[in-house]
C-alpha cells in the first residue's frame, strides 16, 4: 500500500529518466555523421525498492548507465584489415608512379627510343661515310642519353618523394600517439571521478584506427582507462607517457630513413601498414649515391693471378708473360673498374702484391717472374692469401685465376677451402690441366683453360672476356625481393650499363671517318660512379661527326663496326641467373616484372578494400547510429515522459481531492 507522496516521486523519476534518455537520443542524432562516433544508450532500470514497514516500496526508475555499444573484437578486425590495406595501397601507389615514369608499352618509352637508336646504326651501316646519317646517329644517341637520364632522375625523385612520405608518416604516428597519451590522462581522471568519458573513448578509438593505417599496432586497455600502444614490441604509449619515433638515415651518407625509437635508438619493424609499404616501395636499401643495393651496377672486379713458379710450369710461363696484356686489355675495353693482385707460389714461399689499377706495373711484374723450381704448393695457402687480403671496394666482384701446370694439391680438407672461396664470393678459374682442379672450378663457377694451348693470345683474351662476362652476369642477375623501385632500378641500370659498355667497346675497337682510333661514345658525368641512368653523357668528341665509328679499318665505306653495333640488340649480352637474353628480352622482362607487381598490388588493394568495408559494416552495424531507431526511441521516451507527467497530474488530482474535498472541519 503506497503512500501518496511516494507515488509522486516515482512519477518524477520516470519524467526525469526518460528526459535523460531523450537527451541521449538527441546526442546520438546530432552525432549521426561524426566520424568514429559510437552510439550510446541510456540503460534504464528500476530504482532500488525499499522495504519499509513490512512493505516493498517501489521508487520508480533510474538511469543505470549511459552505455556505448561497441565491440573491441570487431575493432581489432577492422584495424587489422585497414593496416593491410594501408600497406598494399602504398605499394600500389609506388608502382603506379613507376609505371607512368616508364611509359610502356603504349606511349613512347625506352623501348621505342632504343629501337630508333639501333635503327640509326643500321642506317649508318648502309652509308658509313654519310654525314647526314652520322648526324642521325648522334641525334638518336642524344635522345637515348636524355631519356635514360630523365628516367633516372624521375625514379630518384620518386624515391625521394616516397622517403618524404615516410618521414611525414612517422610524424603523423608521433602526433597520434601524443594525442592518445593526452586522452589517457583525461579518461583516467574521468573514471576516477566516476564519470563516463564516452566521447573521449570515441576520440581515442578513432586515433587508433588512424594509427592502424600507418603502422601495425598492438593495443592494451587497462581497466582503469589507460590504453597502451605497442609497435614491434616497443611501447609508443604507456599510460600517460608517449615515446616518439624518429626518422633516422638508414646508412652513412644515405638520406633514406627508417623509423627508430627516440632515445633508445632501436630500429623498429613497422610490421605492415602504410609506412612499411612505402619503405618497400622505395626500397629498404641505402640511398647513398653509388649504392649497389639501390641500383648502381657493380662493375668492379678484383682479380688475383696466382702463378705457380714450380718447375712444372716452366714450359708455359713465357706464354703467359707474352699474352698477359691481352687479359688486361679485355678488362679495359669492357669498361670495368679493376684491381689486380699477383700471388706467386712455389714450394715454401708465397708472395702477394697488390697493384690496384696500375696495369703497367702488374704486367711488368708478371713479365719479370722466373721459375724458381721446387714442387707444388698447398692450394690452401693460396686460398688463405687471397681470402685474407682486403677487397679494394665494398662488395667488389672477386676472381682468382690460377696458373699452374700441376695437379691440385692440398694438405687440408678441400671442402673447407671451397667453402672459404664461395663464402667470399671468389670465382676460381684455372689455366692448367684438368687434374683435380675441376671440383674447385665447378663449385665456384669458373672454368678450366688448357695450359698447353697453342694460341695463347686468344686464350688470355678468352679468360678476360669470361671475367667481363661474369661481371655482367652478376650485374644483370637481380635477386627478387619485396623492394620495388630499388629493384627495378637495379635491373634498368644493369641493362643500361651493359649495353652502353658494349657499344663503347665496339666503338673503341674501330676507326673514325678520318682514320683515327675510336673513342668511347658514352661517358659518365660523375666519373666516380659507373655508367647508369642519370650519369650518362655523350662524349664531347662526338661534336665532330667524323668521330663516330663505323669502320674496322680506315676505309670510308667500311661498315663492319656500325653493323656490329646495330646487331647488338639481338646478341645475348644480358645474362640473368643462367639464362642469357638479348637487351630487348631483358627489358621486356623488366616491364613484365613491373606489370606483375602492379597487377598483384592492385588486386590486393581491391580485395583488401572489400575486407575493410566488410569489417567497417560489421562494426557500424553495431555501433552506428540508426535514425529510424533513434526516432523510435524518441517516440518511446516521449510517450513515457508524457505518461509520467500524466501520473503527476493524476496524483495531483488525487491529492487535491483529499486535501480540498474531504472533510470540512477547517471551514
Amino acid at each position: 500500500m503506497s503512500t501518496g507522496f511516494s507515488g509522486l516521486t516515482t512519477a518524477v523519476t520516470g519524467m526525469h529518466n526518460n528526459q535523460k534518455a531523450l537527451e541521449v537520443t538527441g546526442h546520438n542524432i546530432s552525432n549521426l555523421n561524426t566520424k568514429g562516433y559510437t552510439r550510446q544508450q541510456a540503460i534504464l532500470a528500476t530504482a532500488n525498492s525499499r522495504y519499509i514497514v513490512n512493505n516493498w516500496v517501489e521508487l520508480g526508475s533510474k538511469v543505470q548507465e549511459i552505455r556505448q555499444i561497441r565491440n573491441s573484437f570487431l575493432d581489432g578486425i577492422y584495424r587489422r584489415e585497414a593496416n593491410a590495406l594501408g600497406y598494399w595501397e602504398a605499394r600500389y601507389n609506388g608502382i603506379s608512379e613507376l609505371e607512368s615514369i616508364l611509359g610502356e608499352p603504349m606511349t613512347d618509352g625506352l623501348q621505342s627510343i632504343l629501337n630508333e637508336f639501333w635503327n640509326a646504326w643500321q642506317e649508318l651501316a648502309k652509308s658509313p661515310e654519310s654525314l647526314t646519317v652520322r648526324a642521325l646517329v648522334r641525334q638518336r644517341a642524344e635522345a637515348l642519353v636524355y631519356h635514360l637520364n630523365h628516367i633516372g632522375y624521375q625514379i630518384d625523385k620518386l624515391q625521394e618523394d616516397i622517403n618524404n612520405e615516410i618521414i611525414k608518416g612517422i610524424e603523423k604516428v608521433n602526433s597520434i600517439t601524443k594525442q592518445i597519451a593526452e586522452l589517457n590522462v583525461l579518461i583516467a581522471k574521468a573514471i576516477a571521478a566516476n564519470n563516463n568519458p564516452n566521447d573521449y573513448y570515441d576520440q581515442r578509438n578513432l586515433l587508433v584506427d588512424q594509427l592502424s593505417d600507418l603502422i601495425k599496432v598492438e593495443v592494451y586497455e587497462h581497466p582503469d582507462g589507460y590504453m597502451d600502444i605497442l609497435v614491434g614490441g616497443y611501447y609508443l604509449v604507456s599510460k600517460t607517457s608517449h615515446t616518439n619515433l624518429v626518422a633516422v638515415q638508414n646508412a652513412p651518407l644515405s638520406h633514406f630513413v627508417v623509423p627508430v625509437i627516440e632515445d633508445l635508438g632501436v630500429e623498429i619493424d613497422p610490421g605492415m601498414g602504410r609506412i612499411k609499404g612505402l619503405m618497400e616501395a622505395r626500397g629498404m636499401v641505402s640511398g647513398a649515391k653509388g649504392s649497389y643495393d639501390n641500383g648502381t651496377p657493380n662493375t668492379t672486379c678484383d682479380v688475383t693471378f696466382a702463378v705457380d713458379l714450380s718447375s712444372a710450369s716452366s714450359g708455359y710461363l713465357a706464354d703467359l708473360q707474352n699474352s698477359i696484356e691481352k687479359y688486361v686489355s679485355e678488362l679495359k675495353s669492357n669498361g670495368l673498374e679493376y684491381n689486380l693482385r699477383l700471388v706467386t707460389f712455389n714450394a715454401g714461399t708465397v708472395s702477394n702484391i697488390d697493384f690496384g689499377n696500375n696495369t703497367d706495373d702488374f704486367i711488368s711484374a708478371v713479365k719479370s717472374l722466373n721459375i724458381s723450381g721446387g714442387g707444388a704448393l698447398d692450394f690452401g695457402t693460396v686460398v688463405s692469401n687471397v681470402a685474407g687480403t682486403g677487397p679494394f671496394a665494398e662488395g667488389a666482384n672477386r676472381y682468382l685465376v690460377v696458373f699452374s701446370a700441376e695437379a691440385l694439391s692440398t694438405t687440408g680438407n678441400l671442402d673447407d677451402y671451397i667453402s672459404t672461396l664461395t663464402k667470399n664470393n671468389i670465382q676460381v678459374s684455372v689455366i692448367g690441366t684438368d687434374a683435380g682442379w675441376n671440383s674447385v672450378v665447378k663449385a665456384t663457377g669458373g672454368s678450366v683453360y688448357n695450359i698447353t694451348a697453342d694460341d695463347y693470345s686468344s686464350l688470355m683474351s678468352k679468360v678476360g672476356t669470361d671475367t667481363a662476362a661474369d661481371v655482367n652476369k652478376r650485374i644483370a642477375t637481380v635477386e627478387e625481393s619485396m623492394n620495388i623501385i630499388s629493384n627495378v632500378k637495379k635491373m634498368l641500370n644493369a641493362m643500361v650499363n651493359i649495353v652502353l659498355r658494349e657499344v663503347n667497346r665496339l666503338h673503341m675497337s674501330g676507326y673514325t671517318l678520318d682514320g683515327k682510333p675510336g673513342g668511347a661514345l658514352f661517358e659518365t658525368i660523375d666519373p666516380s660512379r659507373p655508367l647508369e641512368m642519370g650519369n650518362i653523357k655523350l662524349s664531347d668528341s662526338l661534336l665532330d661527326l667524323n668521330s663516330i665509328v663505323a669502320s674496322s679499318t680506315d676505309a670510308n665505306g667500311d661498315n663492319v663496326i656500325a653493323m656490329k653495333i646495330a646487331k647488338l640488340r639481338n646478341e645475348s649480352i644480358m645474362a640473368s641467373y643462367n639464362q642469357t637474353l638479348s637487351v630487348d628480352s631483358y627489358y621486356q622482362q623488366i616491364i613484365l616484372t613491373v606489370g606483375n607487381i602492379g597487377n598483384e598490388s592492385r588486386q590486393y588493394v581491391e580485395s583488401q578494400q572489400v575486407l575493410v568495408n566488410a569489417a567497417e559494416n560489421e562494426r557500424q552495424s553495431l555501433m552506428g547510429v540508426s535514425l529510424d531507431e533513434e526516432m523510435g526511441n524518441l517516440i518511446k521516451y516521449k510517450y513515457a515522459y508524457n505518461s509520467a507527467t500524466k501520473i503527476v497530474n493524476v496524483i495531483n488530482e488525487m491529492l487535491e481531492t483529499i486535501i480540498y474535498r474531504t472533510g470540512i472541519v477547517g471551514r
Binding site: 676505309a555 670510308n556 628480352s585 568495408n613
Partner: protein, 303 residues
C-alpha cells in the same frame, strides 16, 4: 544485421565508385582503342605488346635495308651488264679484225674503237652511286682504276659490304673490283694491272702490230673475261633474287606482326561499347536506387 544510415551511405558510395571505375575503364578502352594503358592492367599483354612493337620496328628497318640493298644491286647489275656489252662489242670487233680481210686502215679504225672501249671500261670500273665508287670495296671514296687500268687501291674479298635484312641474315651488296676486273682474284695490291684491262692492252698491241694471228689469240682471253663477267653477273642476279624473296617475306611478316599486335592490344570496339553501355546502365540504376534508399527515414513519416 542491424542496418544503420551510415552503412547505407557508405555502401552506396563504395558501390557507386566501383561502378564508375568500370565505366571509366571501358570509356578509356573506347577512347584509346587499346585494351590496356599500363603494364599492370595486364602484364602479359604489355610485355607481348612491347615485343611485337619491337619486331615491327625491326621489320620496318629490314624493309628499308632491303630497298637500299636493291638499289645498290640494281646499279651494280646494270653496270656489269654494260661491262658485258662493252666486252661483247670488243669481241665482235676482234673476231672481225682477225678474219684476214682487214687493211691496215681498217685495223687502225678497229684499234681506235677498242681504245675507246677500254676507256669506257675504265670509266665503268669507276662507276659511282650517290657519290660512292661501287667497285672499290670499303674505299668507296676512292676510284678503282687509273687511266692505264692499274688498281689505284688495294682491294680484297674481305671488303664485301653487308646489309642486315633479317635477324642473323646478312647479304653482301657490293661486287669487289678485284673479283670483276682481275679474273675472280681474292685480292689485289695497289698498282697491279687489271687483268681485264690487260686483255685490252694486249688486243691493242696486237692490232697495232697488224698481226691477225696475234689478234685471233686474244679472243680466247676475251672469252675468259666474258665468262668471268657472266659469273659475277649471275651471282649478283642470284642475290637480287634472294632480296626479292626476302622483301616478299618481310611484307608478309609485317602484315602478320601488325595483325598479331592488333589482336594482342586492340580492343574490340563493339564489345567495349557494349560493356560501357552496360556499366553505364548499372551506374544509373545504382544512382536512382541510392537516391530512393537514402532519402526516407522515420522522420518523413512521423511529423
Amino acid at each position: 544485421m542491424r542496418i544503420t544510415n551510415n552503412m547505407l551511405i557508405n555502401n552506396m558510395l563504395s558501390n557507386l565508385s566501383n561502378s564508375l571505375n568500370r565505366v571509366s575503364k571501358y570509356q578509356n578502352q573506347v577512347a584509346s582503342k587499346k585494351k590496356i594503358s599500363l603494364p599492370s592492367d595486364d602484364p602479359i599483354v604489355a610485355s607481348r605488346a612491347l615485343k611485337l612493337r619491337t619486331d615491327v620496328a625491326e621489320i620496318e628497318q629490314y624493309k628499308r635495308n632491303v630497298d637500299d640493298a636493291e638499289s645498290w644491286m640494281e646499279i651494280t647489275e646494270t653496270t656489269i651488264m654494260q661491262i658485258e656489252n662493252v666486252m661483247q662489242r670488243a669481241r665482235e670487233l676482234t673476231v672481225d679484225a682477225a678474219n684476214g680481210t682487214k687493211t691496215p686502215e681498217d685495223m687502225a679504225k678497229i684499234k681506235a674503237e677498242i681504245e675507246q672501249l677500254k676507256a669506257q671500261m675504265i670509266q665503268l670500273a669507276n662507276t659511282t652511286y650517290s657519290g660512292r665508287y661501287i667497285f672499290s670495296g670499303f674505299k668507296t671514296d676512292k676510284a678503282l682504276l687509273d687511266e692505264q687500268g692499274n688498281f689505284l687501291i688495294e682491294v680484297s674479298d674481305d671488303e664485301k659490304m653487308f646489309y642486315e635484312i633479317g635477324i642473323g641474315d646478312d647479304i653482301d651488296v657490293n661486287v669487289v673490283g678485284c673479283d670483276l676486273f682481275h679474273g675472280g682474284s681474292k685480292g689485289v695490291a695497289e698498282g697491279t694491272k687489271s687483268r681485264l684491262i690487260g686483255t685490252f692492252d694486249n688486243l691493242i698491241a696486237a692490232l697495232e702490230s697488224g698481226n691477225e694471228k696475234a689478234v685471233g689469240d686474244v679472243i680466247a682471253d676475251i672469252d675468259t673475261e666474258i665468262e668471268n663477267i657472266l659469273r659475277v653477273l649471275s651471282a649478283v642476279g642470284a642475290r637480287t633474287n634472294r632480296l626479292e624473296l626476302t622483301s616478299n617475306r618481310l611484307d608478309d611478316d609485317y602484315i602478320n606482326f601488325t595483325k598479331l599486335m592488333s589482336k594482342n592490344e586492340d580492343v574490340d570496339l563493339a564489345e567495349a561499347i557494349m560493356h560501357w553501355t552496360n556499366e553505364m546502365n548499372v551506374y544509373n540504376a545504382a544512382l536512382a536506387v541510392g537516391a530512393k534508399v537514402i532519402q526516407p527515414t522515420l522522420v518523413d513519416f512521423l511529423l
